[in-house]
């Protein structure tokens, strides 16, 4: 027998009151834990995915949408831009590098992104298997897609038009997998990468063969190319694709998004304005748009935080009341403990221990609940950003949650512990 065990016995002697208080506290702390985890991982992901991208250029529309679709591949693209105009940007002295992206197709909801090898370098992609695409319709799978679809190098699949599941399939030109990337922990894990040419040619076929264009108006339509000569057709399908910069083409072509890097700091001031007012394109800065987004989300977050603190305060009060009430019933017990040799300090400890053990339980349960909740949310979303969050990463901040909870326990026990300390045994025991 020791103080720990004794406190524990007292706690388990009142399972309902103990359980309720632990649960209340756990709820509050679970909310805080989820918020911490989400904030940490989202922010990390968001900055990581946008690393090396100073400016995103695309069709006019919502700048936030441009960023979400172009960098994070969440939202729908704002539209397409002409490649002629896009190419001019490469010659701008303020621009260090440009990576073009052509979007428009998906495979089971995973986006197919037409780009060049610079994109692989931007995210420092490494191959788990195979190599990068060299010819049209050769694709490289992000690690997560490879895992979820079970597709292997050498296998083929058909893309669907549009960037979300359920659109019709392109049946004529299956994509052939030539490489699978190692897990990067970035947006690339959820992308199917190929050449811009692949995306173009798929749509050439789709447009010429099918008159009806699906109602999915949000899906990005790449342009109808003029009918081509059959021999060129055969030829171009097997000629190597552009590995950097823009593909060569005689036809007026379009791309969806450009990822830009500034040459110098002045570019940050001048370039967005130049593009926004001087061209039919739109430029948006990932860092600016994301901080704007987080500001908007901040309101909801503080609301949740408020709720969490209310829950914690209530549970703190609950613990105080529980300890205080049980102390009344326990005055005799405390007097007896003194009579068999316990000191005042030990009784003080006993009550503090009870409060602290209660909140410790609440904290551990709360943290576990928070992680479990996140895990459930993640397993409900197998695509999209949420699916890339990790539920079982533990943060340093969670120690703060624990410390905070113990603080609540300590605070709630001060008065009961003090009154235990003050109990006069003689008086208590003489009372009938």
């Amino acid at each position: 027998m020791n103080l720990f065990k004794l406190s524990w016995k007292y706690l388990t002697f009142r399972p309902l009151s103990t359980g309720l208080n632990v649960l209340l506290l756990a709820m509050g702390l679970a909310i805080i834990t989820v918020l911490l985890l989400m904030q940490d991982q989202f922010e990390k992901k968001m900055t990581q995915d946008a690393a090396g991208i100073d400016l995103v250029v695309g069709a006019k529309g919502s700048p936030l949408q441009l960023i979400l679709s172009g960098v994070y591949h969440i939202d729908f693209p704002t539209g397409n831009i002409s490649m002629e105009e896009a190419k001019k940007l490469t010659r701008n002295r303020l621009v260090k590098s440009v990576i073009p992206l052509a979007l428009g197709d998906n495979y089971q909801g995973f986006r197919i992104v037409g780009t060049n090898h610079d994109y692989l370098n931007l995210y420092k992609a490494e191959f788990a298997e195979g190599k990068a695409w060299e010819e049209p319709f050769e694709v490289v799978l992000g690690s997560e897609i490879a895992k979820k679809s079970g597709l292997k190098v050498g296998e083929t699949f058909e893309g669907s038009h549009g960037i979300s599941v359920g659109s019709h399939d392109h049946e004529d030109h299956p994509y052939r997998i030539v490489g699978i990337l190692s897990p990067l922990g970035s947006v690339v894990d959820r992308l199917i990468l190929t050449s811009i040419e692949s995306v173009w040619y798929t749509h050439d076929e789709a447009e010429s063969e099918e008159v009806v264009i699906e109602s999915d108006s949000l899906a990005t339509e790449l342009p109808v190319a003029a009918a081509e000569e059959p021999e060129i057709h055969q030829d171009k399908f097997h000629s190597p694709v552009a590995k950097t910069g823009f593909p060569e083409t005689e036809l007026p072509r379009e791309v969806t998004t450009l990822l830009l890097q500034y040459r110098n700091p002045i570019a940050a001031v001048q370039l967005p304005r130049q593009i926004n007012s001087g061209t039919s394109m739109q430029a948006a800065s990932p860092s600016f748009e994301m901080s704007r987004l987080f500001e908007l989300l901040g309101v909801g977050v503080s609301l949740l935080q408020g709720l969490a603190f209310v829950l914690i305060a209530i549970s703190g009060l609950g613990i105080f009341i529980a300890l205080y009430n049980s102390l009344k019933e326990r005055k005799y017990d405390l007097a007896i403990l003194r009579a068999i040799g316990a000191s005042r300090i030990q009784l003080l400890f006993l009550i503090f221990l009870e409060g602290i053990m209660l909140t410790f339980l609440g904290a551990v349960l709360g943290i576990l609940l928070g992680h479990t909740f996140l895990w459930v949310v993640i397993s409900q979303n197998d695509q999209g950003v949420v699916s890339t969050l990790q539920a079982w990463i533990f943060l340093k901040e969670e120690l703060w949650v624990l410390g905070y909870a113990l603080g609540v326990g300590l605070l709630a026990s001060i008065i009961p512990a003090w009154s235990a300390y003050q109990t006069s045994i003689a008086k208590q025991l003489t009372k009938a």
Binding site: M1, Y10, G341, A426
Partner: protein, 210 residues
Amino acid sequence: MLLESKKVQYTHPGQKTLAFPDIRLNHGESILVLGKSGSGKTTLLNLLAGLLSPETGTISLAGTKLSELKGQKQDLFRGKEIGIVFQKPHLLSALTVRENLELTHFFSKKEGQNLDKLLAELGLTAKAKSSVLTLSEGEAQRVSIARALANEPKLILADEPTSSLDDENAANVIELLKSQAAKIGAALVIVTHDQRVKSQIPNYIEVESL
């Protein structure tokens, strides 16, 4: 002398001063404290246990003056050397019978008696793992006696240990206290106004309010 109290006086706030007759007890001796209700019997017991400090006079147990011990030291001394049986058993209801006894060893930091043997002697072996809430009144009182004995104290104090018990149980409890005190060589002080007890312990003092 094992227990010696000399010219002890005590005043409860707002009450008249209580003066107590001297007590001298050796190992294995027992004494009854008699007196009318409100005469100060419980007060004397609290003084002997060190739960109250006398205004004048001294109480010493095995050569140690109780009034000279302070705070934690006094608590520890009480835990080690004094066993108290209260009028009501006052067992800790969150614990089992055996755990109630284990507490005395923990708080007094003393090895004490073998608890299983003690429980067997008091006929409580079958109840060792039961919650104290399931005990009969007589059983509960026996557990509280076991608790007072668990540390093999030098002094056993009992405040009306028989008042809520029937004749047979009352006689048993006194017999138990006497035999156990004799076995461990402790002095025994029993406060009572229970006439039944007098036949078992002839030695007594009387507390009178002045």
